[in-house]
Symmetry: D2
Subunit: 366 residues, 4 copies
C-alpha cells in the first residue's frame, strides 16, 4: 500500500516534483519478453508534451524518457522498469510570490495543512507534470497490451470545453490527432480555437470533459466487489489532477432513465452475445462484457490564472493573488493522453489479475 | 490485495451471497478500546433494511447482525471484527427461470463469462444484499469516528429520482428520516410517491442520484497521488451496485466553468481559513481542506423488471425475459445508508493513514 | 493491507478468539469451478484437532467447519469463501486468575501494552485456536492445487522434540499419520512418547522442530525481490504461534559451508535439469527450481505451564503464576498440519501470481 | 502489491540491475518535515560499499546516492523520495561465458525458467548490487527514526563465518566498525583474516551468520496475526540475497528448550516491566515488548567461485564452469549494513502502523 502506487499486479509508482531534477515512474510486475524501447514510450509522451501548441503551457520540456532498468536487449525482463524524465526548463524564479501564498482552487493550502511543508516551485508534487510519469508508465502497458490483447484499442478525446460540446454526429476518430484539442470533429476546431483564445485573453481558464473509448476489451475483466473494473477506472481518472467527476456509460444521466430504457438487450451474434445498445458502457457487475467501454470525466478549469483572486498566505494575511507563470488555459486538453495511459494500465492490470484467478478461461455460451 | 476488501489500514472484507446461509464483513485494523455492540450497528442496518417501505423489495429480512469476534466486554480489542447477518427469507424457487438466462443490464452474463459458474439465486454475489455487510462495517467505522472525530457528520440523501430533482431551496436535513426516499424536502414527498407508484405500476424501474455531505471533516486527510481522498471516495461509491457516475463538488459541471468562477476564494476566519464558496467539494489536490465534502453519484434503474426484454440464455438461445421476484422499483433509495457507510469507512481509513504518516500534526497558518 | 490477511492474490483473513462464539477464515481470490465441500476441508481440520491424542490439549472441540459462501453446487464460484468454525468447549472459568496476570513467554503482556485491552479468555486472539482457521483456508488451497498442480505434494512432519531428533536414516513418510507426533519413523515413537510423558509429568513443556517437504512444485514460482518464494514461506511459518526460527534447505547450517560444498551441481536429465544435491532447498534467487522445497522451523515450548513462574499483573504487582487449563505439552506437534496449510497457501498464491505475470510460460532449456 | 516493494505504510521499491545505468529505491510514505540530505544516506552506503576491503569484491563503485525527489530545503515533504545510484564500474565483458550458462547455486537458472529472459551481466537483478538501494532506503528510515524513536539503536555484526564463531564473552560493540568483518571482538580479527584468506586462496567462498540487535524499541509494535513484527523481520532478512535461515531470540534452539527454561520471567522495574531473560528476542505474540530485539540469519557462501563446478547451459549441454569476475569470498560480510537497513525499515513501518491503529497509546501497567 504505497500512496504513490497505482495498480494491483501491474503497478507503477510515480515520483518527482515539477521543479526537481527529474521525475519518473517505477513500473513493477510487467510481463517478461515484451518488446520495449524508449522510442515506443516517447511517442506517448510527445502527445502529452507541454509547449506543443499555443493552448498548452509554454514551458519547453522535451520530456525525454530514459529506461534505467528492467529492459535487456530490447525486451522486458519481468523486473522493475525505471522510467526517468529529467526536468530541464524549470524557472523557479517565477514562483517567488506564491511560495507563501495559497492559490484559490489549488492544492497549495491542502498540502500545507497536511504536511506543514511543500515544494511550492511549480506546484511541486501537485503539479500536472506528475502526469508525464503516468503517460510513460502507460506506454509500458500499451506495449504489453499490444501482445496480450492485440484487438484492444484505447482512444481518448475531448467532448466538452466550457460551453462547447462535441457534436457526436460529426464524430471522426481519424481527426483526433489533427488538432490541438484532441477533438474528433475537424469542423468544430476553428470555433474551439476562437473560444479558447478568448478565454486566454480574458486571463481566465476553462474546464473540459473528456471521454475514453476502449474497444476490443476482452470480456471477464474486473473482480467484484471492490476491484471492479469500473471502480478502478473511476479511481484512475479521479486521481488525475483537477478531475471532479467520472462516468461509465450513461453516467450521471442514468439517474433519469427507466429500467426498460436502460436495459441493454442481447441477441446472439456470430461470435457470441451481441448487445443492442450500450447504456452500461461495457461493464456489468464490475466486469467487462466485451462491449465498448466508455469512460467520461470532467476536468475543472486551471486554478492558476492571471485574474486576481482573494486568498490568504501562510502568515494568515488576506491578500489578492495573480498567478503568473506558464499555465494551460484549459488543463483538460493535455488530460487526453493521461487518461489513455491510465486506462491502459487498468485494463492490463485486470487482464493479469483475471489470468491469475481464472487462467483467462471464459464461460461458454451456446 | 483482496478483491473483496475495501480500505488501506481500516479494511473490511465482505462475503456472502443473496441466498446463501449468511453474509457478512470481516473488519480489520479497527482501533482498540472503542465502545461497540450489536445494537449500535443494528441502527445502521435498520435504515437500509429491505421491506421497510412499499418502495423497496418486499423480501422480509430482519438483517440481524451478530458480532462474532473482535469485541470484548463492549469494546473493540484491535483484532478482526466478524459481523455476520443470516439470510432468512430466501425464496430460491423464484429464480428458477433465470438460472440459465441473462437479465439485460444485470451482472448475470458478466459473471458467467468470467467465472463460468455463478450462484444465480437472487443474483448471488452481485445482489444488493452484499451491501448489508458494508453498512455493518460502516457502523464500526462510525463508532470509531464518534471518538476520533466527534465533530464529523455524514449525511446522505436523494437529490434525483428519474425526472424529479430535489429543490435545494427547500433543503431540510431534519426531514431525511421522515420519508421513504431519504428526501430532505417534506413538501416533495407526495410527488415522489406518485411518481414511483406510477413507475412500479408500469412494471418498470427508475434511476436515482444521491448526495453525501460530510461535515466537520478534519483537514489534511488524503494522500496524493493515488490514495487521494476523492479518488478513494470515487472508488467507494462506484463499487456500489448499479452506480454509473461519481462527482465531487461541482462534478461534471466543472467542465463548463471558468477559472475565475471556479476558484474558491479564501479569507481568514476566527478558526482558520474560511472559503467563500465550495466548488471544490472540500477536497484540493486529493486532500481535505476542512470544508464540507460533497460527493454525488448516480444509480441506474433496477435491471430486474417485469416488462419483457430480449435476451439470451446460456445455451445461446434468444429469448424474452420477465424478471419476477421482489425487486426495488428504485434501487437507488436504499443506497443512501450504503453510501454513508462507505464514506465513513473512507474517512476513518484516511484519518488513520494520516495519523501514520504525519502523526495527525497540521501545518500552521498565521 | 489487512493485519490479519495472508497472501497476495489468493488471500485469507482469519478472525476469531479462543473463547468467542466462533472463528474462521475469509478466503478471497479462489479460482472458480474447483470442487470443494465441507468434508474435504474437514479432513485437514481433523488432523489438527485438539483432543486427538493425550499429547495435545484435552479441550474437546469438534472443529466442524461450515462453508457460508463462495461455493455453489459443490464448486467454488470465484467469490469469497467464508469458513466458520464454532467454538463449543470454552471453559472460561479456567481463566479467572490470568485475566489480570501476564504469563511469562506469552503474548499477554504484549497485547496489553499495544491495545490496552485484550480478551484474556484462553489467550483470546493470540491462542493457537486461530490456526484452525488457517488449516481450513489451507484446505481450500489444497483443493485448488489438486487441479492446478496435480503432481504437487506437501508433507509436514516433526524432526525434533526437545532433545530427541529424527533419525533421517529411518525416514518413512508412510508412518507420519500413524503416530501422535507426525513422526516419519515408527521405531522412534515409543521413545518420543516416554519423553513427552516425562515432560508432562514434570509439569513442563518442550519445544519442537518441524519440516515441510514440498514435492512436485513447478519451477518459476516466486517473484524477486520482496515477494520471493522463500521470503513468503519464511513469513508464513514465522506467523505461526510460537515459531522462533525458519530455515530453507541448509538453513542456518549454510553459514558453515564453503561455496564448493554448497553448490548444487546440475546435469541434464530426461525431463530437464537434474540437480545433484539440494542444499538450496529447491529455491534459487527466490524462485522455485523444480527441486523439492524444504522448509524447517522451530516452535518454542508452550508458555502455559503448571510450574510456577515469576511475573507481574496489570496492577504492576509481582506475583508467581501457575497456568492451569488444558495446554499442549508440546505445541509444536499440532503445528504440522498448520505448516502444511500455510505452505499450500503460499504455493498456490505464487502459482497464481506467476500465471498473472508470465502466463505460466517457462523458459526453455535445450 | 508490487513484487519489488517492501513495507506496508513506509514502503520502498527497489529497481535496477547490476550492469544497467543506475539502480535505486523509491521510498513512499515517509513522514514530512524530517531532516534529510544525501550526506546522511551516504554514510550508510559507505559502510556497504564494495571495494572497501580486500575481503569484498574489487569492483570499484563509489555508490554515490542522489536524491531526485521528495526532499525540499533539507527536509522531507511527505512525497516519494527517489534515491538513485549510478553504476560506474560495469565490466560487462567479464560475463561473456556465463551469458548462456547457469552457475550452480545461483539464481541464473531460476530466472531463466521463470522469465525466459534475463540480464545476465553481473547477475542482473539477482545481483547483490540491488542491496545498495535497500541501504539507501534504510538511511531514510534511520533519519525518521532518529526523530520518532530517538532511543532506538540498530546494530548489526557477524557472529559466524564458516567454522569460526563469535565468542560472546568478548563482545564489544565499539569494535564492530574497526575491522573488515563487522566483528564485535578485536582479538578474533587476525584469525578471521587468516581463515578468509585461506578460503580465497583455495578459490572457494564461505557462508556466514549475522545478528542484528535492536535496542530501545518501543513496546507495542507489530500487528498480529499476519503482520507480526517477527514475521516482517523474518521476511526482511530472508529477502536478502543468499539468506537461508532466520532466527528471533533463541531461534532454532528453541526446539530443544523446556517451558520452564524458556519462560522470560518478569519483575517490575522503575520504568515498567523488567524481564529476567530474553529467550523471546524481544517479541511476544508478534508484538515488541520493549526488550532488546534479537534477529539472526545465515548467508550461504557466494556461489560464484573459481573452482570448476558441473552445470548445464541454455542449450542443455553439460559443462564445467568457473565463475571469473570480482566476487566476495564471503558475501555475508556486506550483509551487515543491509540487515540494519531492513531492520530500520521494518521498525519504522510498524511504528507508523501502530500510530495508525492505536495512536501510539500504550496500555498501562500499575
Amino acid at each position: 500500500m504505497s500512496f504513490n502506487t497505482f495498480g494491483r499486479v501491474f503497478t507503477f509508482t510515480t515520483w518527482g516534483e515539477s521543479h526537481g531534477p527529474a521525475l519518473g515512474a517505477t513500473v513493477d510486475g510487467c510481463p517478461p519478453g515484451v518488446a520495449l524501447d524508449e522510442a515506443w514510450i516517447q511517442q506517448f509522451l510527445d502527445r502529452r508534451r507541454p509547449g506543443s501548441s499555443k493552448f498548452t503551457t509554454q514551458r519547453q520540456e522535451p520530456d525525454r524518457v530514459r529506461i534505467l532498468s528492467g529492459v535487456f536487449e530490447g525486451k522486458t525482463t519481468g523486473t522493475p522498469i525505471q522510467l526517468m524524465i529529467e526536468n530541464t526548463d524549470q524557472r523557479s524564479k517565477d514562483y517567488g510570490e506564491i511560495a507563501q501564498a495559497f492559490r484559490p482552487g489549488h492544492a497549495d493550502i491542502a498540502y500545507h495543512l497536511k504536511y506543514g511543508i511543500r515544494d511550492y516551485r511549480g506546484g511541486g508534487r501537485s503539479s500536472a507534470r506528475e502526469t508525464a510519469a503516468r503517460v510513460a508508465a502507460g506506454g509500458v502497458a500499451q506495449a504489453v497490451l499490444r501482445e496480450l490483447a492485440p484487438d484492444l484499442k484505447i482512444t481518448g478525446y475531448m467532448v466538452q470545453m466550457g460551453e462547447l460540446h462535441l457534436d457526436r454526429a460529426h464524430f471522426d476518430a481519424a481527426e483526433i490527432g489533427n488538432n490541438p484539442f484532441f477533438l474528433p470533429d475537424a469542423s468544430a476546431v476553428p470555433a474551439w480555437e476562437d473560444y479558447l483564445n478568448a478565454i486566454r485573453k480574458a486571463q481566465d481558464s476553462v474546464g473540459a470533459a473528456l471521454e475514453v473509448l476502449i474497444q476490443g476489451c476482452p470480456p471477464g475483466l474486473g473482480a467484484p466487489v471492490y476491484a471492479k473494473l469500473d471502480t478502478d477506472l473511476a479511481a484512475a481518472m479521479m486521481s488525475i489532477n483537477a478531475v471532479k467527476g467520472v462516468e461509465i456509460g450513461e453516467g450521471m444521466a442514468a439517474a433519469a432513465l427507466t429500467g426498460t430504457a436502460n436495459a441493454d438487450e442481447i441477441r446472439m451474434g456470430n461470435e457470441g452475445p451481441r448487445f443492442l445498445s450500450n447504456h452500461a458502457g461495457g461493464i456489468l457487475g464490475g466486469i467487462s462484457t466485451g462491449q465498448d467501454i466508455v469512460v467520461r470525466f470532467a476536468v475543472k478549469p486551471t486554478s492558476s490564472i492571471l485574474t486576481p483572486r482573494r486568498t490568504i498566505n501562510q502568515c494568515g494575511e488576506e491578500i489578492e493573488l495573480i498567478t503568473k507563470g506558464r499555465h494551460d488555459p484549459c488543463v483538460g486538453i493535455r488530460a487526453v493522453p493521461i487518461a489513455e495511459a491510465m486506462a491502459a494500465c487498468v485494463i492490463l492490470d485486470h487482464l493479469m489479475l483475471d489470468r491469475a484467478q481464472t487462467g483467462g478461461q471464459r464461460g461458454r455460451i451456446g
